[in-house]
Amino acid sequence: MDDHVIGVLSNIGVVSFVALSAYLLLLTGEISFGQQAFFAIGAYGAGVATALWGWPLAAALAWGAAIGGAVAMLVGMPTLRLHGLYFAVATLAFAEMVRILFELFRYQVSIDGELVGPNGGEGFRNIRYVFDHNIDAFQFLLLIYLLLAAALLGFVLLERSRLGVIFRMIGEDETLAGLQGISVVRHRVLAAGIAGSLAGIGGGLYAHLTTYVEPRIFDVMLGVHSLAYGLIGGLGTALGPLLGVVIDIGLLESIRALAGYRMIIFGGFVALLLIVRPRGLLDETTVHRLGRGWRQIFPWPRRPNLNRRGNNA
């Protein structure tokens, strides 16, 4: 496979994590402009773990996810009591705070006579795990998509679980959910933690994919995009934000005539979709219709409807 194609596919896979992260919060009815902060924390955390501490990649990615999730829960506790615009502004402010902190963050260690580690605004170079361990671009692509598939499987299980129903219920009407005895803040903090972990894994993969991170990468542009992917692709399924990423990075990237004007087209596309299809291309109704059509083509053997005694009802 062409190196450029592998690069584009890798970008799609990595950005999908932060898109899924924003999507999970959208499910609970909150708009976050700050998921790039957890992406950054995961990237720096995992990068430090492999480049400075000599950890294996799997442990480093888990570490990035853990600190991304933990920080998201800590931030979520006070901010998730806010609503709508106030929450959105709070997440944006937090993300900018994290970005500026990374501009001040210096932690360098001499490895083989070379200083390695985060160096403030100059960024963090030489996250060389994939080169030191002879992992080629295609192998790393497989790892990205394997982890993405695991994340999607987690979403499928979540959607079918009681927790998924609670998340959607809170997103639809939090007052009603509260009246049903559901702790709205606690469940939102849990969703924020899972979302932070997802963004953290994405960040860890990104740092090892590019071998280089710097605070500018994690500015508001990434946060707005991660939110827009869910709004374009649709909120009916976890495949929605992935569709948004594919449209932006895959489709627009491949049309080189649009080079340099991609952001303008992307912004216009988001604005148009918000008017025509406010819950995205794969909204709940479309997903339901597609599911019904699928079941008609491939009828799943239904279990007999049994009563309590085990007889056919």
């Binding site: 190196d3 450029h4 690069g7 584009v8 970008n11 990595v14 950005v15 000599g54 294996p56 990649l57 799997a58 501009e103 083989d112 006579g113 070379e114 403030g120 605004g121 100059e122 960024g123 170079r125 060389r128 080169f131 030191d132 361990h133 002879n134 992992i135 192998q139 790393f140 497989l142 790892l143 394997l146 982890l147 598939a149 695991a150 499987l153 299980l157 990104y206 590019t210 071998t211 280089y212 710097e214 605070p215 500018r216 990468i217 500015d219 542009m221 990434l222 995009h225 932006d248 990075i249 990237e253 080189r256 080079a259 340099g260 004007y261 991609r262 952001m263």
Partner: protein, 142 residues
């Protein structure tokens, strides 16, 4: 679910090869670029050397790509292959960017040495400089 967990574990263990660590030759690069005749085209001269011994690295396949740090994954320039000069370790490449501003040049080395070197430069209409620190972002001009 269990089979997915097994598959994930196998893949991670396959990729985790700590015994290979720290055996690789590391490259360092000096890059100087200047505007070419066409708008947004730049000619770059790249000097590659072994970061430990300082010996020039020649006979490698070098591709030069570019990303905008302020817009990660958004402006991804297709990598071009550099040609080697008669001088050992000196390579030339012509890159075409999408706009002026700060770009992270991605030098991918393959062959006897496999490595990646990143250099952040500020590409203007008439000159190319080292990019200053992140707190002074360049204005992107289409």
């Amino acid at each position: 679910m269990r089979s997915a967990t097994y598959a994930l574990t196998v893949a991670v263990l396959t990729l985790w090869r700590p015994e290979n660590g720290c055996a690789q030759v590391r490259a360092k690069a000096d890059i100087s670029c200047r505007p070419a005749v066409e708008k947004l085209q730049y000619d770059c001269i790249i000097n590659l050397a072994n970061s430990r011994s300082g010996e020039p690295l020649s006979g490698l396949t070098l591709t030069v790509g570019a990303d905008m740090p302020s817009m990660p994954t958004a402006h991804n320039v297709r990598p071009v292959k550099a040609t080697e000069d008669e001088d050992k370790g000196t390579y030339r490449a012509r890159i075409t960017l999408e706009m002026h501003g700060d770009w992270a040049l991605r030098l991918d080395l393959s062959g006897t040495v496999r490595d990646r070197v990143i250099k952040v430069l500020r590409f203007g209409s008439d000159r190319v400089d080292e990019a200053p620190l992140a707190r002074t972002p360049a204005r992107h001009r289409h």
